[in-house]
Amino acid sequence: MSAGLLFLVLAILAVAGYLSGRWRAAAGGDTRALHSRTTYHGLAVALAALLAGIVTFVLLNLLATVAPEIGSRFVAIASIALALAAFVAVWARITPAFRARNLVETIVLGLLLLAATVAIFTTAAIVLSLVFSTARFFGQYSWSEFFFGTVWSPAFQGVSRLGMLPLLWGTLYVSAIALAVAVPIGLFTAIFLTQYASPRFRRAAKPAIEILAGIPTIVYGLFALVTVGPILRDWFAQPTGLGSSSASVMTAGLVMGIMLIPFVSSLSDDIITAVPRAMREGSLGLGATQSETIRRVIIPAALPGIVGAVLLAASRAIGETMIVVLGAGAAAQLSLNPFEAMTTITVKIVSQLTGDTDFNSPETLVAFALGITLFVLTLGMNVLALYIVRRYREQYE
């Protein structure tokens, strides 16, 4: 019996449960005497049958991965049998006093909780999908070399050196430049739009800027490569003698900064708008100028939210791939010069995973170790962001 058919049976069972539950509840005649409305009786039967079936199916399938003797036929029959049992059990209990609504609400609450835990399952799945390959990588390559090595040079022939530090440095450097561009511009954009601009200008400008957020990063990458890179090289790097490469940390950082502007500005916009009007009027009523009000009252009040927005933008910068691929070059090196080519963790994840190297070799598996590093990095930043936001909130609420 195919699983599709099984689910069809379960669905039919649920519909039947709903209708018959309602009918049985209404059969007493006076529906006003019921504790719960008839719909709830129907839903109780339907939900009980559906859930019993699905839970049995999932559990038995999980069991089947360790005990292969459980066949799919057995799983299907057991699921339907349990669904039927639940159906009958609930249906039989339907009386005017049956607290069907409470039962339905308990089940629904359970479902809501389940939906909320999807986030946890996703995280677990991410960790699981990274951790085995990472373990294989560290079986072939020393962990201390990976975390503290300062040379990144995978090789087809001879010995690869897979030190993560140059990549981490490149990641942080590019992100720092991107934030240095995006945060002031984004913040001032948000301030201007919320505090100074006429409603008409705001209505036109805000969506226009938000379009920047919708442009695929590949477009930004080409923009970096074709336009920004050569301009920076010809106007800044070469005259100052800092470098002659059009692909540089500065190129990628600037373009990524442009990409992040709407990100910072939308978030800050919402946060600034959320600052109570009373706060603003209180300051203006004291004779503060607009800018004094913004600098001394609105920004401090909105600060936790803005910090959160900036950290979110930072995670975004750290995780960005396409712009760096095209804008920053692929050279893994530790350098302070922003006009030199560098590379980031994400770029190397993609390139090592989509490359032509042996898929069992450390050169390919290193991508998973890099992935987990990146994951831990963004996790750390988010915990920090949450901590900051909560601390401030407690202080001012």
Binding site: N102, E105, V108, L109, L112, L113, A115, A116, V118, A119, I120, T122, T123, A125, I126, S129, L130, P184, I185, F188, T189, F192, A197, A205, I211, L212, G214, I215, P216, I218, V219, F223, T227, I258, I261, D270, T289, Q290, E292, R295, L312, S315, I318, G319, E320, T321, T346, V350, L353, T354, G371, L374, F375, T378, L379, M381, N382, V383, A385, L386
Partner: protein, 445 residues
């Protein structure tokens, strides 16, 4: 400290005037920063849009060539029986000489003649897809064998680029794939009206084409793939996201579990998209054995990516509904669940929808995770209808853009920009809907 004659310095009118001047200067500066910031953002937007539009609009037109083709029975039906199976056995390779021969006749008629043009060069001016077009026609109309039929073929990508003015005689000098004589012939054919440049809806509706045929490549499969994925994202992430938000916002007690969920959600919003790609590959494809290149996998991965966005927006929307409304419902004897589902949720709906649309728009433009689950693929056949089509191979719009930029023939650059335009149209449309919704339904309490 009872000195009544003490006058604070601030009250000295001159100092005060100076201070006021300074304050106004600061105000002006501050405002200028704002104007500057907006200017930079908008300038960047305009620059980007101009480069995309300039490069991509020509992709919506295409050059076509009309030709009279003699469907030679000796080649197409060697057995002479008009047996459909026999006709099918003749491969496209046999059709190419027919086109070559017909074009040769056509050029001979062109007055004045084009010097240096050879049949091979002429045949090179039509798309590589022309033989297949011819073969499909013959299979559909076996009776036409032996007749001369007029066909309209796509012109070869190089010729098309020349007609559009993207390449000139100077810039194509030295191009091994384009002979000056072909350009002369193209000029002549344009004059004669045999060749023309016109709007090409096939760019939207056709599937992708191989690297030899940039002129035939379209976005059809990518559009359907993207649509399927968005459908999955919508169907899954909206209910799950709303359910999770309701739990967290209305029911969750402050506990370690709630904390863990909160941290997880905000973390997932920031996890690099490439990591979701690894997840999709390891979990959905390798563990759950879902097919590669299928919209279902892309949809699931994007759902997981979109969930945090929707949850965050939904929670904000739920929060903005004043507690007094819930209390009013509770006050007339509704259960908490009823109060939320009957009153709070409908009031929060505009905010939830806005968040959902923005989440969908984000998912629509996402490329990196799809690279790892086989969506960067050459897919020629359209996926089936729903729900089976969810498991058929397809690509997605942003991936198609990436795919086009990877190809050797420069004619694909134009198609990449064209695809970006289509993508942007969708994104702008979705964002507009979100904005209109927000403005129409926005409520202040």
């Amino acid at each position: 400290m009872t000195d009544a004659t003490f006058v604070p310095a601030a009250l000295d009118p001159e100092r005060r005037a100076a201070l006021t001047r300074r304050r106004y200067a600061a105000e002006k500066r501050f405002r200028l920063y704002g104007v500057g910031a907006i200017g930079v953002s908008i300038a960047a937007l305009v620059l980007l849009l101009v480069s995309v539009l300039g490069g991509g609009l020509p992709a919506f037109t295409q050059t076509f060539v009309r030709a009279q083709i003699y469907l030679d029975p000796a080649v197409l039906d060697p057995s002479g029986t008009r047996d459909p199976d026999g006709i099918r056995k003749v491969l496209t390779f046999a059709y190419a000489p027919l086109i070559k021969r017909s074009l040769e006749t056509a050029t001979a008629e062109l007055q004045p003649t084009v010097p240096g043009i050879t049949p091979a060069l002429l045949a090179g001016m039509v798309s590589d897809g022309a033989p297949a077009q011819l073969r499909n026609y013959v299979i559909a109309n076996p009776d036409s064998i032996g007749e001369t039929v007029e066909f309209e073929f796509l012109a070869n990508g190089r010729i098309d680029q020349y007609v559009k003015g993207n390449i000139t005689r100077e810039s194509s000098a030295g191009d091994a794939r384009l002979d000056p004589a072909q350009l002369d012939a193209a000029d002549r054919l344009l004059e004669a009206g045999v060749m023309e440049l016109r709007f090409n809806p096939a760019f939207i509706t056709n599937p992708d084409a191989s690297e030899n045929r940039p002129e035939a490549a379209g976005l059809g499969v990518a559009l359907i793939g993207s649509a399927y994925m968005m459908l999955i994202v919508l169907v899954l992430s909206l209910p799950i996201g709303v359910a999770a938000s309701i739990y967290l916002e209305e029911f969750a007690a402050k506990s370690w579990l709630t904390d863990v969920i909160e941290v997880n959600i905000s973390n997932l919003a920031a996890v690099p998209s490439i990591v979701f790609g690894i997840l999709g590959l390891a979990f959905f494809i390798n563990f759950m054995n879902l097919p590669m290149s299928a919209p279902i996998v892309g949809g699931l991965v994007l759902t997981l990516m979109t969930l945090p966005t929707i949850i965050i927006a939904t929670r904000a929307a739920l929060k903005s509904v004043p507690p007094s409304i819930k209390e009013a419902a509770l006050g007339v004897g509704a259960s908490k669940m009823q109060a939320i589902f009957h009153h709070v949720l409908p009031l929060a709906m505009p905010g939830i929808l806005t968040g959902t649309i923005i989440g969908l728009a984000q998912a629509l433009g996402e490329t990196a995770p799809l690279l790892l689950i086989g969506m960067v693929a050459f897919v020629k056949d359209f996926p089936a209808g729903l729900p089976d089509g969810l498991f058929d191979p397809a690509t997605a719009l942003p991936v198609q853009v990436y795919n086009f930029t990877q190809r050797a023939d420069p004619a694909f650059v134009e198609r990449a920009s064209g695809a970006i335009i289509v993508l942007l149209v969708f994104l702008v449309a979705m964002n507009t809907v979100a904005i209109v919704l927000r403005q129409k339904l926005e409520r202040t309490w």
